[in-house]
């Protein structure tokens, strides 16, 4: 049903301009919508940025939000996708005391089983990186928190769609006008 709330990923292709983040975040803030995660990066097209926004809402709502986003002059195109439409990942970093790596045999097993990888090790601490679905990251977090985590950070979701997004064609069409 279109009024049932679920998690959507919004992809927004934009010009790379100062102030656009403000403009887009204001659309959510004004409607009292919490952004679950937000990532802004370059896209496959030179000079074009890509926002990846994760929000929990109904399809009816998200269509309206998309209209408001696309209305912004410097937004090229916005899409929304369900989890099934996309390949998506999050990434996280754990900073953990180095002693534990040697003293707690279990930690080494956890690292192996979780396919996490060690970014760096020094005398005081080591840093573990894990990319994947939220649930995998949470499982690892839970397993490691027993031993004590010095620092933890998780990135926003990034996602590519299974279907083609025809941004390049759109931009070429403008050029040829």
């Amino acid at each position: 049903m279109a009024t049932e709330k679920k998690l959507y990923t919004v992809s927004v292709y934009t010009e790379n301009n100062i102030g656009l983040l403000n403009r887009i975040s204001a659309i959510f803030q004004r409607r009292h919508i919490n952004i679950e995660s937000l990532n802004i990066s370059v896209s496959e097209i030179e000079g074009v940025s890509r926002f990846t926004i994760l929000i929990h809402m109904s399809e009816d709502q998200i269509k309206k939000i998309l209209g408001q986003i696309e209305k912004q002059v410097e937004v090229i195109k916005a899409y929304y996708h369900t989890d099934d439409d996309t390949i998506y990942q999050e990434s996280c970093l754990f900073k953990i005391k180095s002693d534990l790596l040697f003293e707690e045999r279990q930690i080494q097993n956890i690292i192996k089983e979780s396919n996490a990888h060690i970014v760096t090790v020094n005398k005081e601490f080591f840093v573990l990186e894990k990319s994947g679905r939220r649930a995998e990251l949470e499982t690892l977090h839970k397993a490691l928190s027993v031993f004590g985590i010095m620092q933890f950070v998780r990135s926003a979701r990034i996602a590519v769609t299974k279907d083609e997004l025809k941004i390049t064609e759109m931009l070429n069409a403008f050029k040829n006008q």
Binding site: G19, N22, V73
Partner: protein, 577 residues
């Protein structure tokens, strides 16, 4: 495409010339065909004012008495001319004072360009004197905004500002220019903007949506058109009239759409919304096909959403895709410019008439007339009504005046009773409801259309929010006619207090000054009317006067505006008393 004036050509695509950023700003305005702008100088915009001084024979800068009024004057100018209005202010408080006008222009889709000075770029973010993040502040209320820190960016950004402000669904644009960019010299050349790659001003119209709309219209037994400002913005008045007449459809208007079809047209059945006419509100919930053209189903129009025209098929002709299905789910959405869509729709619509259906509107009008209109326009009680003042204005101006109204009871009365025989005649703050709008907007309107009679109709509350603009009117000898309908109350709030807050008149009673003396203090001819027998002659004297004229009419203190759709009620539950 607009044709270029000789002045514009003079400043367009000339060979490169080394000039300052501030001179470039003025030349950009000239290239865009700007002949008047409204503003207020200050530290961070002084280099531009210095250039305006040099160019004063080519471009008229009008000094308003407050920056908010510069924005409203630019709005008034834009609303009556269809051109882009321009306002200018300095950084800090100058810029923040513009914000109300910008927000008003945003919600009412008015094309204005605001140029603000900013502290030098090396001071940005340092909390410098009169520094404010106006780009950040204005972001949610502008169609587009941008900060310029290099003189070389000025031509392209200003060209883009004008293009964005007036194309598609119009709106306000703010350009913030640092003082160092104003001083900096560069090789100037100006090219008009013809497109922005990330921006589609007018969405493509799907031909199948046109035929689907035509099919619904042709099958309708009880069709109803509700048009909004989209008709005026796309200059589609003729096409609207053609559709209404060809298909024989009763047509109602939103407050922003007023005057697109003359009041006297037999199929013009009045205003919808909270204080609109009885018939179109009631019959919204009886029609079988509702054709919405260039309107956005504002809550003041729809009343309770889930009891709004639920029986009807909805056709929505709309330029802004974000408006489709925003409030009301449509059956057929026709995206595109209203004029173009109507032109495509017209040949597919059958000649028709709906006399029985139209009769229902006439019958309900009779009820409204007996219960409300008669008492408003031909009162038998002693106290003067706002309606009879409007009636006199209609008589004296032959219904050809541009009525600039403020916000509140008088605004509803003006929209209900003014005769609008010429398009672009209702200049009011619709979406934002900005008290203080009318007096400065009337300045812009009169300057854009000096041949038209411009009558500002204002309440005693809103008048005092921007009363200082009498100074601008006096200094510029603008023959604006100002009518203050004085009930010594913030009337609309008082009406709500009476109806919904058991007459607890919290902070709505006003002890007013001697308005006539104030107007005279600004050397403006002024009169006060307290008796019915003096009204007609004084209104005539006002309209016959060659200069600005102030007329205060003391109306009954506790008059109410009816009909009324109470907040949260369905449109068909509209009250007549």
């Amino acid at each position: 495409m607009d044709t270029l004036t000789a002045t514009q050509k003079q400043y367009l695509e000339q060979p490169k010339e080394r000039i300052s950023g501030s001179e470039a700003i003025v030349r950009c305005l000239l290239a865009e065909g700007v002949d008047v702008l409204y503003g207020y100088p200050g530290g961070a915009i002084m280099p531009v004012y210095d250039e305006l001084y040099k160019y004063e024979d080519k471009i008229n800068h009008v000094l308003t008495r407050h920056e908010q009024c510069a924005a409203h004057a630019a709005q008034g100018y834009a609303r009556i001319s269809g051109k882009v209005g321009v306002a200018m202010a300095t950084s800090g408080p100058g810029a923040t004072n513009l914000v109300t006008g910008i927000a008003d222009a945003q919600i009412d889709s008015t094309p204005i360009v605001c140029i603000t000075g900013q502290v030098p770029s090396h001071l940005l973010g340092s909390d410098a004197f009169q520094e404010t993040d106006i780009v950040g502040i204005s972001t949610p209320v502008t169609k587009w905004n941008h900060q310029v820190t290099k003189a070389s960016q000025i031509p392209e950004i200003i060209a883009r500002a004008f293009y964005i402000a007036k194309s598609g669904r119009p709106g306000p644009v703010l350009i913030d220019i640092t003082k160092d960019a104003q001083f900096e010299e560069f090789d100037f050349q100006y090219k008009k903007c013809t497109g922005v790659r990330s921006y589609v001003p007018v969405p493509k119209t799907d031909p199948s949506s046109i035929s689907a709309a035509a099919a619904l219209i042709n099958s309708a037994k009880k069709p109803l058109i509700i048009w909004g400002q989209g008709i005026i913005l796309s200059k589609a008045e003729t096409e609207l009239k053609a559709l209404v007449e060809k298909a024989g459809i009763p047509a109602a208007w939103t407050i922003m759409g007023a005057s697109a079809l003359p009041t006297s047209h037999p199929l013009n059945i009045g205003m919808v919304g909270m204080h609109g006419n009885y018939a179109p509100n009631v019959l919204t919930n009886d029609c079988d096909v509702l054709i919405a053209i260039g309107m956005r189903f504002d809550d003041r129009v729809t009343g309770k959403l889930d009891e709004y025209a639920t029986q009807a098929k909805i056709v929505h002709l709309e330029i802004d895709p974000a408006e489709v299905d925003k409030n009301i789910k449509t059956d057929v959405a026709v995206l595109g410019d209203a004029k173009q869509s109507l032109l495509e729709l017209l040949p597919q619509v059958n000649d028709n008439s709906h006399n029985e259906w139209l009769q229902k509107f006439k019958d309900l009008y009779e009820i409204e007339y007996e219960k409300v209109i008669k008492n408003d326009l031909h009162p038998t009680k002693a106290g003067l009504t706002m309606g009879e003042v409007l009636k006199e204005i209609n008589i004296q101006t032959k219904g050809e005046a541009a009525i600039v109204s403020d916000v509140g009871q008088h605004q509803m009365i003006a929209c209900r009773y003014a005769d609008f025989n010429i398009t672009k005649s209702n200049i009011t703050s619709g979406g934002l409801g900005t008290m203080g709008f009318a007096l400065p907007a009337a300045i812009g309107a009169k300057m854009a259309a000096p041949d038209r009679e411009v009558v500002a109709v204002i309440g005693d509350g809103g008048y005092q929010m921007t009363i200082q603009e009498l100074g601008t009117i006096f200094q510029n000898k603008l023959p604006v006619k100002i009518v203050v309908l004085n009930n010594e109350f913030l009337g609309m709030v008082r009406q709500w207090q009476q109806l919904f807050f058991e007459k607890r008149y919290a902070s709505t009673e006003m002890v007013n000054p001697n308005f006539v003396a104030i107007a005279k203090g600004y050397y403006i001819e002024a009169k006060k009317v307290t008796k019915r027998e003096d009204l007609a002659a004084t209104v005539k004297e006002m309209i016959d006067s060659d200069g600005p004229y102030f007329l205060e009419v003391c109306v009954e203190k506790e008059g109410n505006v009816f009909p009324m759709v109470p907040s949260g009620a369905s449109v068909s539950d509209i009250r007549l008393e």
